[in-house]
């Protein structure tokens, strides 16, 4: 027995190595018994606490970057949303125009407003259609809401349209109820001025004003606007009538150029 201890002391390192190796193999064969599993769960739960702290640290560390990314994404989505809304509104407008064109069976060319004229004295629109599309001087420009103006000059790929809110634009019009004719023009106000309506003619606010057809340019029956104000002065022969334009000139994006005025002549279909 004594010699056995002596041998162990002499070969202690070797025995210890064999012991650990043997113990390791025993553990490998006993792999995952219940008590070991419990210990693993306990240790892993402890580690999950450490992991949570690490995750929190990583989360806070990444928060700034994430915030910046989200802001950029929000901006992109916002821009995309604006574009989609714009497309939707354009779609609605184009549908209206198409419906208008189909209902009235007019010969017209659809045009986009691509800018405003640079002339000092004439208020005009720049349209993206020109001679190539059959556009010529004095063709009438309308929308589904009413009269816009006329073509001043046409170039091969674009044209200029004079709008009613121009000092030089004068249009012969008719009051729808009284059938009295006058001349409408612009004197620098928000609304148009209807002139040459005698005082004895009964004019109501809200009455429709349409083109008279007496002009060689504008066909009859295109809506120009609604009577907004009526004033009388005992020293003047005619009433002072303000007409609210049917078209919002500052918001124009798409218009029609009537390539044949015959299609509207005498029908008065636009004045609805």
């Amino acid at each position: 027995m004594k010699s056995l201890f002596g041998l162990f002391n002499q070969r202690r390192t070797l025995f210890l190595l064999l012991f650990y190796i043997l113990l390791s193999f025993i553990l490998m064969t006993l792999n995952d018994p219940f008590n070991i599993r419990g210990m693993r769960i306990l240790v892993l739960q402890t580690m999950s606490v450490v992991k949570n702290i690490e995750d929190k640290f990583t989360y806070w560390n990444n928060l700034e970057q994430e915030n910046s990314d989200l802001r950029r994404q929000l901006l992109e989505v916002s821009i995309e949303n604006q574009r989609m809304q714009e497309s939707m509104l354009e779609n609605i407008r184009l549908r209206r125009l198409l419906k208008f064109k189909e209902e009235h069976k007019i010969d017209a060319v659809a045009a986009n407003v691509i800018g405003f004229g640079q002339e000092q004295t004439i208020r005009s629109l720049v349209l993206d259609v020109g001679e190539k599309e059959g556009i010529a001087k004095n063709m009438v420009v309308v929308t589904e809401k009413g009269l816009v103006g006329k073509i001043l000059d046409a170039e091969p790929e674009q044209s200029h349209a004079q709008i009613l809110m121009d000092r030089n634009a004068l249009v012969s019009v008719r009051l729808q109820k009284s059938r009295e004719t006058g001349v409408i023009g612009w004197s620098g106000n928000l609304w148009l001025d209807l002139n040459y309506i005698p005082k004895d003619i009964n004019v109501e606010v809200g009455e429709l004003v349409i083109t008279s057809g007496l002009s060689q340019i504008y066909p009859e029956g295109i809506k120009v606007g609604l009577v907004g104000e009526v004033e009388e002065n005992k020293y003047e022969l005619f009433k002072k009538i303000k007409v609210k334009p049917a078209v919002e000139f500052n918001k124009l994006e798409e218009v029609f150029v009537l390539t044949s005025s015959d299609s509207l002549m005498g029908e008065g279909k636009i004045a609805q």
């Binding site: 202690r12 190595l17 650990y20 190796i21 113990l23 025993i26 995952d32 070991i36 892993l44 580690m47």
Partner: protein
């Protein structure tokens, strides 16, 4: 009774374990990662000799096994042999290169045992594992070992038993 040096190494083991479980995954390249516990174990065994070295190796390996889902005892066996080898090799090389050479030999033996047993009875090619994992892992471990030896004095000759 634990002295100051022992306590210091217990702290190293704890920190290495924590880093191995948490931060090493962020510095791994493909699947290659350094074995921080092996570095500390080799440094410890070089100072304490084979008996304490293998005991430390067994305990450290056992903890790693418990924290992982692999065979219980597999890392304990690999680390036991590594600790024993490191303790046995002290004084066999020049002091300047002792730590890194020992780390290389122990790391190689550690991985060979680990992969050999891990792939027994499976279709894995042991040679491929050695080329694909052992050598890159060992290289990475030695690089980190160089950094470790720069910051930690691994040549505590005064504690050596001559």
């Amino acid at each position: 009774m634990l002295n100051k040096g022992d306590l210091r190494f217990i702290l190293y083991f704890a920190v290495a374990l924590l880093l191995q479980l948490t931060l090493v995954k962020y510095i791994q390249i493909y699947n290659w990662r350094p074995d921080l516990l092996l570095i500390v174990l080799v440094a410890f065994a070089l100072q304490k000799g084979p008996n304490i070295g293998m005991t430390a190796g067994f305990l450290v390996g056992l903890v790693q096994d418990i924290l992982s889902t692999q065979y219980l005892g597999l890392t304990a066996l690999s680390k036991t042999v590594a600790g024993f080898l490191a303790g046995s090799l002290r004084g066999k090389f020049a002091a300047r290169t002792e730590f890194l050479l020992t780390l290389f030999i122990c790391g190689l033996m550690h991985d060979l045992i680990y992969f050999f047993i891990n792939t027994l009875g499976e279709n894995f090619s042991f040679q491929s594992l050695v080329v694909l994992y052992t050598i890159p892992n060992l290289t990475y471990t030695i690089i980190i070992g160089v950094v470790f030896s720069y910051f930690v004095d691994v040549q505590v000759s005064e504690e050596r038993v001559i």
